[in-house]
């Protein structure tokens, strides 16, 4: 069962990923092509998910929107992983004041509610998709730092690392070749879960007008624009919201299934 769930989640995420990557080939229409006469229509044979207020094809916009959302979220989470992970590993390896300084800084960042800090950062950088990515990356740095520091501390004390040190391996070599691989499963699980959360944060920012800007298709933005026409034609708002849900759902389920498979001890505790 566990493996079947993992297979299902992997397939689900992979399908969405492929759709997003090949958006330009897959989508039936140009997502920017306006056709005012055919606007705000419900689903039909021509437009499977209907059209928006400019008569643009909702399905094509959603496929491109998924691409935008995934690009921002994946970019941001990977950046956070690299930066936060490095900070966490160094803190664990060197201990002492490095550890204290780094972790206090992380505490400060951690003190802000996620969305609030992200809004503040975007306000400073100006609303565009790159700002949203930077904001999400900054917000997630402390999470990865904390995540990696704990287990890294344990590994650092192990005979294994002591052995590596004894044969004269350098610090960087020990950290990247001996400590990091041991943390792979934790990282994989958490990355998947945080990607899911990042999708939601990116959607919230776009929804508030702080992410991707029109006319570029973005799921949060489509939802935000679509709600102005809710009583005329709710399709754009409903389907773009569903797309956000599917993206976040797939990644979360994947993280969940990965955790079960890679680390059976944790199964079912959260």
């Amino acid at each position: 069962m566990r493996h079947r769930l993992l297979a299902f989640a992997t397939l689900f995420v992979a399908a969405q990923g492929l759709l997003a990557v090949f958006a330009a080939w897959v989508s039936p229409y140009d997502p920017l092509q306006q056709n005012v006469l055919a606007r705000l229509k419900g689903p039909s044979a021509d437009h499977w998910l209907g059209t928006d207020q400019f008569g643009r094809d909702v399905l094509s916009r959603i496929i491109h929107g998924c691409q935008a959302s995934l690009a921002v979220s994946v970019g941001a989470v990977l950046a956070a992983l690299v930066l936060g992970g490095t900070l966490g590993l160094f803190a664990a390896y060197y201990r002492g004041w490095t550890d204290r300084l780094v972790m206090r800084a992380m505490d400060v960042l951690f003190a802000f509610p996620v969305l609030l800090l992200a809004i503040g950062i975007v306000a400073v950088l100006g609303p565009r998709s790159s700002s949203a990515a930077i904001a999400i990356a900054i917000v997630y740095v402390p999470i990865f730092a904390r995540l990696l520091r704990g287990p890294a501390l344990v590994i650092c004390e192990s005979d294994y690392v002591a052995g590596a040190r004894a044969i004269g391996a350098g610090d960087a070599r020990i950290i990247f070749l001996h400590i990091l691989p041991n943390l792979a499963s934790v990282v994989l699980v958490q990355t998947s879960l945080l990607l899911s959360a990042a999708i939601l944060v990116e959607a919230s920012l776009s929804f508030l007008g702080l992410g991707t800007q029109p006319p570029t298709p973005s799921l949060g933005l489509m939802l935000s624009e679509g709600r102005n026409f809710l009583m005329l034609s709710p399709w754009s708002a409903i389907f773009s919201g569903l797309a956000i849900l599917f993206l976040a759902f797939g990644l979360n389920l994947l993280g969940d299934a990965l955790r079960d498979t890679l680390d059976p001890r944790l199964r079912g505790t959260s």
Partner: protein, 499 residues
Amino acid sequence: MARTTLRSMLLAGAVALAAFPAAAQTLEVAIDGSPAGLDPHIITAFTSFMVVNRTIYEGLTSVDKDLRLQPGIAESWTVAPDGKTYTFKIRSGATFHNGAPVEAADVVASLKRVLGKDIASPLASRLAAVDTITASGSTVELKLKEPSAPLLTSLATIAIVPRTFETDKDGLQKQPVGTGPFKFKEWQPNGFIALTKHDGYWQKGLPKLDGVKFNIVPESATRQVGISSGQYAMLPNIDAATALQLKGKPGVKLAETLELAYTLVGLNVSKPPFDNAKVREAVNYAVNRDEIVAAALFGAGVPGGPLSPALKDWAVDVKDFPCYKYDPAKAQALLKESGVAQPITVSMSVLPRQDIKDIAQVVQQQLGKVGIKVELKTPELGQFIQDWRNSNFDMFASTNAGSPDPDDYFYRTFRTGGSTNVFKYSNAEIDGLLDKGRATTDTAARKADYATVQKTLACQGPIVHLTYGQLFTAMRQNVTGFEIVANRSLSYLADTSAK
């Protein structure tokens, strides 16, 4: 379990409905944004203006639903033949909300307050021509440095407040005191602003309502559901898309008028490519205004020239502007003639408001067809304004409030060095005509001059005027007596009743 919860939820809702009927004769109005304060000499944004103008505060003069000048706190006035002395007779029987009668001294203090440096009122430039302000008995005399045709219209927007506030910076922001039909009761920031009837109002029998409550509801769908359910009785000054969704809803009716404000694309003429008049003309030919009306305004609007068609006495018919006929081939020819390197790539800064964002996307596509590649930028409002003020743009898409007198808008926008001439436009012929129009009070001569100005500006000016939208107000069926005004003032709330 779940079913029981749902049932008790619904039951609780029903009980709430039965136990608390809407208070009689308080009009529940829903608006989309909070005002920045309630001091009429400080706040100038639409939302703030809408809440206080002619509800809490009144000016010496007023403007009716046809945008014609009417008496306000001044019951009459005279203008000296040289156009430099205005004498206002102050109405007897008008009182402030604190009970004090309105006297000439209050009027003088109010105007001086607007001019005061500490108060720093942004409205000061509307009184820029004023030299001295003096009171004698029940009259107030304004002496001007030079004649100023738009002064009487401007005075309608300058609130009369008690003289004690002349040097008080903060008092009115929290606790406004005016002469209008409603007085301030309570302000829950982000919640509501409640006004109650001013019993000593000078117009007998008004206001008909016991009070007005402005509920601040940012979400359009929530406002729509609110008026459909009867929770709100009025959604003032809504756009066409919202109106369309409310059309035909049981219990809801719509009032509409052509708006004084217009949408525009501004061009920076201080740098290429828009320093070239041919390129500006090409943009005018490339823009299909009818399509913009259809696409972004849902058909509710008209193509607009430099003046609103609502200004029947002044506006030139758009049919008289050759470049208003959509002609992409002509646009391409003009671009070729201009000698500017093609393809042209420019960025457009877009005011962050839904209808403007919509219009910008349509314009982007239209200009793309003639080979002008436009990149849209939607900065946050503060950034937009800063860029606008600092002329930091190639093009921008925005909206402009419009004014009942042409001089007010033309002079500050198109005169060399005008206060909102952010385009850096300079044209000696236009400057001459504007100076002349400002200094004379001969209406026929002004009309001819302003017609020339409009024709020059329409095709080669720094602004591509796009559309004048239809403005709507949605009301419950039982609301009567309200008239919608093109400048978004809610002045007819005094005559409104809800039975």
